[in-house]
């Protein structure tokens, strides 16, 4: 679907500030009638979008012109409404944010205005927008401090998020709605545009233009002079950014550089179940003013800044040394030492699961602010990032080479080095050289096993500290054996058909981590409810479930075992038979892949194995008449499934095993995947047939 053009270097600075703060007067004025494109007869008559039956609307034309030296972006949207659903596009909310910095230069008083619009019916009747756009303050906060995972800090005296809200008049199915507006930025800042091209509607045509400032700029982050404009494009194959220079038309008669992009026929972003995290790979062009000469130059510099800040926070102090020595006392090998350090960090409160404490709370408790990792230890709590930094610092104190690594959260996004932006990273993990071998650790994911990382951090590229500075690295891939669920049931049916029994669910790896972290967000009561609901959703509704015991909730190195008591009824009775589900854990399941068509790859969170073993003991009035045939299915190198039912005189036993070894299945392989799933999910629904033994054949108990 999406193709990535050759990447030209770019850099996303927060702001680039002018050396010469020149106040330029605005000359943008909207005059309805002059500004709108006359609709064609074809546009007016359009009732559907070929190839997209039932599409709600289509963007006929979009224009975005950024004029830096006028501190304005001019927007124009023309949308054809094709269905009732499409009418919602007539309700327009233009959100923007502004901030008042602690210094004047750091302020950004963005405002949206110059709104004009109109509705055109299919018969050509024009209804101008004469209403009033409403300004709404969505959030207003004072004294705001932000700190990203890359440790960059921003502070503002006030931050406001506002919306201009309006709705276009008399919109019908068949109408064309169009509106223009301007976004104005503060006189002291310049911000390179981001052109997000692909959205939820088909785009027939769009035109983007940027007139970058001709003033000399310095980076708002580093103070270094800006020496180039860079961009990160993801564009359709036939779309190209065209750059040209108009001599003498820029500020103070300088040459004006212009960037221009025309795109046509852009499909909407696909949405499917089990889709990869591709939201950050829609068609787009992200520009920036850059002080760097290459991609590598950027990452070297950004990595260096991050690494320095992280090492500063993780610096060794006497308190840390003393505490670490105490923790590793008695350990001989590096592995033993590191396990003790890991356990100590895991015992601390992770405030990402509870609540971050403010400075005043730290002061009240006599603990002071958190300036270094030693303070995290003192407070006995920290964020995921802080705990990881503490772990690395303690490993270093213990004499090991330890490094931090920035990674994306794979459930949300993937990292691409071509996009020079540290905001691609969500989390920090650790790399420690243990007895000569580097291993990955995830102490910020509380209850993650030693020597593993949470699945969101597996199989991703990130940037890590090295002895020489920083560099790109890949994390490891889990095996299906790392993420296992074992479900065991032992049920007894009495002669009235009532079922009682015990079920144990044993979770290892990712499923165990998920449940343990669920417990961190709530308490025992909420965890028990969630665990009960989890099993209830699997079983027939006729069974009542109660959580009787949870073992190993805090012991992250061991499986989590949840024991249940169940009672109720099971199976469907006919006149002479009782039909029992062969695997009652699948009674509540539905088809995973019901759709025959697929556009995107199928994306599973992690490889995993699920094993079931069930025994149903029944009374004398039944005998097993038939059981499902044994099944073994699979996809070579990827998945294996097996199921067997063994009948005995007074019980039957089902064994089922499912193992899936990958995370990504390409669209070309979807049919095979769907067939595999359909086959085993059908097998899962088969029944064991118990036959009622005629009364004369049963042994009637005699009274003593």
């Amino acid at each position: 679907m999406m193709q990535r053009s050759s990447i030209i270097r770019w850099q996303k600075a927060i702001h680039a500030f002018s050396l010469l703060a020149v106040v330029l007067s605005s000359c943008v004025r909207a005059h309805a009638g002059d500004l709108f494109v006359k609709p064609t007869a074809e546009e007016l008559a359009m009732t559907a979008l070929p190839g997209y039956p039932g599409a709600a609307a289509v963007v006929l034309y979009r224009e975005e012109i950024t004029k830096d030296d006028m501190h304005v972006v001019q927007h124009y949207d023309r949308i054809k409404i094709l269905t009732e659903e499409g009418k919602k596009y007539a309700n327009v909310e233009l959100r923007f944010s502004s901030a008042r910095g602690l210094e004047m230069e750091a302020s950004d008083d963005t405002m949206v205005g110059d709104i004009v619009g109109r509705t055109i019916h299919a018969d050509g009747k024009v209804i101008p927008f004469t209403g009033k756009p409403y300004l709404k303050v969505v959030e207003k906060e004072h004294d705001v401090n932000f700190q990203g995972v890359d440790l960059q800090k921003l502070s503002f005296a006030e931050v406001k998020v506002q919306e201009k809200v309006f709705t276009l008049p008399d919109v019908e199915v068949g109408s064309i709605i169009e509106y223009r507006y301007s976004t104005r930025y503060g006189d002291h800042s310049f911000e390179a545009p981001d052109w997000y091209i692909q959205g939820d509607l088909y785009l027939k045509a769009a035109h983007y233009t940027w007139y970058p400032t001709t003033e000399e700029l310095t980076s708002g982050e580093t103070g270094a002079p800006i020496n180039s404009i860079t961009w990160f494009p993801i564009l359709p194959a036939d779309a190209k950014i065209v750059s040209h220079t108009t001599p003498g038309t820029g500020h103070l008669g300088r040459d004006q550089q212009v960037y221009d992009l025309v795109v046509k026929d852009v499909p909407p972003m696909p949405k499917e179940e089990y889709m990869p995290p591709i939201a950050s790979f829609s068609y787009r062009v992200l520009y920036n003013f850059s002080e760097y000469r290459s991609v590598q130059d950027y990452w070297n510099s950004a990595g260096k800044h991050w690494s320095k800040a992280a090492n500063n926070f993780s610096s060794v102090s006497s308190e840390l040394t003393s505490a670490t020595q105490g923790i590793i006392a008695g350990a001989n090998t590096q592995d033993e030492k590191l396990r003790k350090i890991y356990a100590a960090v895991m015992a601390l409160e992770n405030t990402d699961f509870t609540r971050e404490h403010g400075k005043l709370e730290d002061k009240a408790s006599g603990e002071g602010p958190v300036n270094k990792v030693a303070d995290v230890l003192t407070h006995k709590r920290g964020s995921s990032t802080q705990l990881t930094e503490l772990f690395v610092a303690m490993a270093r104190v213990a004499g090991m080479k330890a490094y931090l690594m920035l990674v994306p959260d794979r459930s949300e996004r993937l990292f691409t080095p071509m996009w020079m932006n540290m905001q691609q990273f969500d989390d920090v993990i650790a790399i420690v050289n243990v007895d000569g071998k580097e291993q990955f650790f995830d102490p910020g994911s509380r209850y993650c096993r030693y020597g593993h990382v949470a699945w969101q951090h597996t199989d991703v590229q990130g940037i890590r500290q090295t002895d020489a500075g920083t560099g790109f690295a890949l994390t490891l891939v889990d095996s299906y054996a790392d993420n296992k669920t074992i479900r065991i049931a032992n049920l007894y049916m009495n002669d009235k058909g009532e079922i009682t029994g015990k079920i144990d669910l044993t979770f290892s790896g990712a499923p165990a981590l998920s449940w343990r972290q669920t417990s961190l967000r709530g308490d025992e009561e909420s965890l028990k409810h969630a665990l009960r609901t989890h099993l209830e959703n699997m079983l027939p509704k006729s069974l009542e479930v109660k959580v009787s015991e949870i073992k190993g909730l805090d012991d992250y190195e061991k499986p989590l075992i949840v024991s249940y008591e169940v009672k109720g009824t099971l199976g469907t009775a006919t006149g002479k038979r009782l039909l029992m589900p062969a695997d009652l854990f699948l009674a509540g399941s539905t088809a995973t892949f019901p759709h025959e068509k697929r556009e995107l790859a199928v994306y599973f969170h992690y490889p995993q194995a699920v094993q079931d073993a069930l025994r149903v003991n029944f009374p004398e009035q039944f005998v097993t008449e038939a059981v499902p045939t044994e099944a073994k299915l699979g996809i070579p190198q990827l998945a294996v499934y097996s199921m067997s039912v063994v009948a005995a005189p007074k019980n039957f036993t089902t064994r089922r095993s499912y193992m899936f070894g990958g995370t990504l299945v390409l669209p070309k392989d979807y049919a095979e995947l769907r067939t595999f799933y359909s086959q085993f999910e059908s097998k899962d629904q088969e029944s064991v047939v118990l036959k009622v033994v005629p009364a004369s054949a049963t042994t009637v108990p005699t009274a003593n």
């Binding site: 659903e85 959030e139 919306e163 009240a364 469907t572």
Partner: protein
């Protein structure tokens, strides 16, 4: 659907806002008031382990001034008991352009006993996002105090000047967490009088404190905790509240605690907004041209407002109650519920049909006939039926005390046929706005036959277990709502995906083709969905036997649980469902066993099912009729039994064997 008149009581604002912002540093805390400490140090009774937090103290003083303004002074202390209780630790005070927060102070005590006070600049402002269809000037001052952990205490005090639009104020003294000590004090100007009405609570007499001050104490109110309760009624239909109505010299619209008073007030507020214009009259004439019958004229006008006026809310101050002028709504072709009701009234008036607005709540049971008040969140229309006029199309009909009959219609609910009423309003109460004839009315519960699903299908079963056939599903009434939405609002891909997902509930390997939706935008006709299905592995072999589920697709499962029921049951709607399936068996197979027929009638619902075998074809028939919209808690065992019977029948199998 949007706000008409939520009474803005003191509420803790639910978590979410602060998740997006950084923690604000706080500064030295002093001066936690004694009333906070006293409340914090009390011994708590035993609560159920599900209790997330408890209100230790809630004191409201409501002072009415002779000029019509009022000052609300509130003290509120909450203790967090569980991690999930942190969401109750965000103090918030709502205001708009006609009200002003004069002061707000926030304190907290963390579980270790450290005390904190927030500075003014640590209290932020927030307004809810519109999500594409709302502009409202409602805003809140909110705070994120320290110590918001289990064992922690959060307290706040504020004073807000209000300009009540009506001589009424509400005290909401019950919620989803327990409330221990609470009081409401009313301070009236000399010469004023008051009366109280109560919802979901016995009337309680206030204490006369002298000097026109009156106080009500309401201690140890239990929680209405509906979390995890299936088929639960709306919490606001159970939570207790008191409404104070007051009157005084010089007041334009004094209130005496009657529905007539409420109606007269709203009539005055809205009446001139219902005025027709030449453009409205012209459109009405165009729509009704050639129609002489009352119903036909009302229907075409009702459907115009329902279908052609886009839902979009703009409300500021009294605009939360008062509709825009009908002419403006008609011109822009958009408006909210009260705007649509106003335009409906204006257009009907142009056609010579009288109608009135009807104030309701979208949750059944919130409007309590014993508690006249403006508590409610929705506006619909009541169309007067000419005397002596009869028609089988008239379903949602009420008769007022005046003897006049009204056809109730909601022009905002865009998938309910004209002449009917959406299920959540059925059985609820509404205020008819008819000047001096204003009154509360109970809305009708409609016949189950007006809300139906009828599935029919003809299948062929292959010996390998594959089932093939054509399915037709006809829906009418509210049960057709989503399907009508699907086939009018969603594209072909989403329609296919939705139906794929629906059939996946009943087949493990389905292939659905030829999907077709008919009459999606014709609300007075069956919404008809048809498709061809092929499903391998539908029948499963076990040894020499082949098992087939005669209830091939579709479920009527009732989501009961195994817990002890404490609240009444909301069945949501009356309805009727029919399934009629034929399955032709593969050659060489015959039936060894059929499921027993089922026939039960619990009064509130009945269920009948049978599977027969004729020739080489299985015939499955069932009919489910739900006659009530709600049940008392005592009926839960019966409902559970019915759910079990339906569940077992849906899973029942026919056993086939080779001939």
């Amino acid at each position: 659907m949007q706000l008409l008149a939520y009474a803005r009581s003191v509420r803790f604002w639910v978590a979410g806002f602060f998740l997006s912002i950084a923690v604000v540093p706080l500064h030295a805390a002093t001066g936690v008031p004694d009333w906070v400490r006293t409340a914090a140090h009390q011994t708590l009774p035993n609560f159920p382990e599900t209790t997330k937090a408890v209100v230790l103290l809630d004191e409201t003083t409501y002072t009415i001034a002779p000029n019509g303004t009022a000052i609300e002074h509130v003290r509120h202390v909450v203790k967090i008991l569980r991690p999930q209780g942190r969401e109750y630790g965000y103090p918030s005070v709502w205001f708009d352009k006609d009200s002003k927060v004069l002061s707000m102070h926030v304190w907290s005590i963390d579980p270790a006993g450290h005390e904190y006070a927030l500075k003014d600049n640590e209290i932020q402002e927030f307004s809810p996002p519109g999500d594409g269809e709302l502009y409202s000037d409602d805003k809140a001052k909110v705070a994120d105090p320290p110590g918001r952990d289990p064992g922690g205490i959060v307290a706040f005090e504020y004073e807000e000047r209000e300009r009540p639009y009506l001589a009424e104020t509400n005290w909401f003294f019950q919620e989803d967490i327990p409330r221990l000590t609470q009081s409401f004090t009313l301070v009236l100007p000399p010469g004023y009088t008051y009366t109280t009405t109560w919802a979901h609570h016995p009337q309680t007499v206030g204490i006369d404190l002298e000097n026109h001050r009156y106080r009500w104490d309401m201690n140890n109110e239990p929680a209405i905790d509906l979390e995890h309760v299936p088929m639960r009624p709306a919490s606001r239909s159970l939570e207790a509240r008191m409404t104070i109505h007051y009157a005084g010299p010089g007041m334009a619209v004094p209130q005496d605690g009657t529905w007539q008073g409420i109606g007269e007030w709203y009539y005055g507020l809205s009446h001139d907004r219902l005025t027709t214009t030449p453009e409205i009259a012209a459109k009405t004439a165009e729509l009704t041209q050639g129609k002489t019958d009352f119903y036909d004229k009302a229907e075409v006008i009702g459907e115009f407002v329902q279908q052609k006026i886009r839902y979009f809310v703009i409300e500021m101050g009294v605009g939360g109650y008062q509709p825009h002028a009908a002419g403006d709504i008609f011109r822009g072709r958009y408006g909210d519920c009260k705007d649509k009701a106003a335009l409906l009234s204006a257009m009907l008036s142009s056609a010579g049909i009288h109608s009135a607005m009807l104030m309701v709540d979208t949750d059944r049971g919130v409007v309590d006939p014993d508690d006249p008040s403006i508590v409610g969140d929705h506006m619909i229309g009541a169309i007067e039926i000419p005397q002596g006029y009869e028609s089988p199309k008239l379903h949602s009909v009420v008769t007022a005390k005046t003897g006049k009959r009204y056809l109730i219609f909601d022009p905002t609910w865009d998938k309910t046929p004209f002449g009917q009423l959406e299920n959540n309003l059925q059985g609820s109460y509404g205020v008819l706005i008819e000047g001096t004839n204003s009154q509360v009315l109970q809305l009708p519960v409609l016949d189950p036959k007006l809300n139906t699903i009828r599935r029919s299908a003809s299948f062929q079963l292959d010996a390998d277990g594959t089932l093939k056939g054509t399915v037709t599903e006809k829906r009418f009434g509210d049960l057709a709502e989503y399907e009508r939405y699907l086939f009018t609002h969603e594209d072909a891909k989403k329609q296919q995906e939705y139906m794929d997902r629906v059939v996946a509930e009943d087949f493990t390997a389905p292939s659905l083709t030829g999907l077709k939706g008919e009459n999606a935008d014709m609300l007075n006709k069956d919404m008809t969905t048809s498709y061809v299905i092929s499903a391998s592995h539908f029948a499963s072999a076990s040894g020499p036997l082949l098992m087939v589920r005669p209830r091939v697709l579709g479920t009527l499962a009732i989501p009961v649980d195994h817990e002890k029921r404490k609240v009444d049951i909301d069945l949501r709607q009356t309805m009727q469902a029919n399934d009629d399936f034929d399955i032709e068996l593969p050659p060489g197979y015959t039936v060894d066993e059929l499921p027993d027929p089922v026939k039960v009638d619990f009064g509130f619902a009945s269920y009948e099912s049978s599977t027969e075998f004729h020739g080489q074809t299985l015939h499955y028939r069932r009919i489910y009729t739900q006659r009530e919209i709600s049940l008392p808690v005592e009926k839960y065992p019966e409902l559970r039994k019915l759910a079990g019977i339906i569940g077992a029948d849906e899973q029942s199998l026919v056993v086939l064997k080779r001939k």
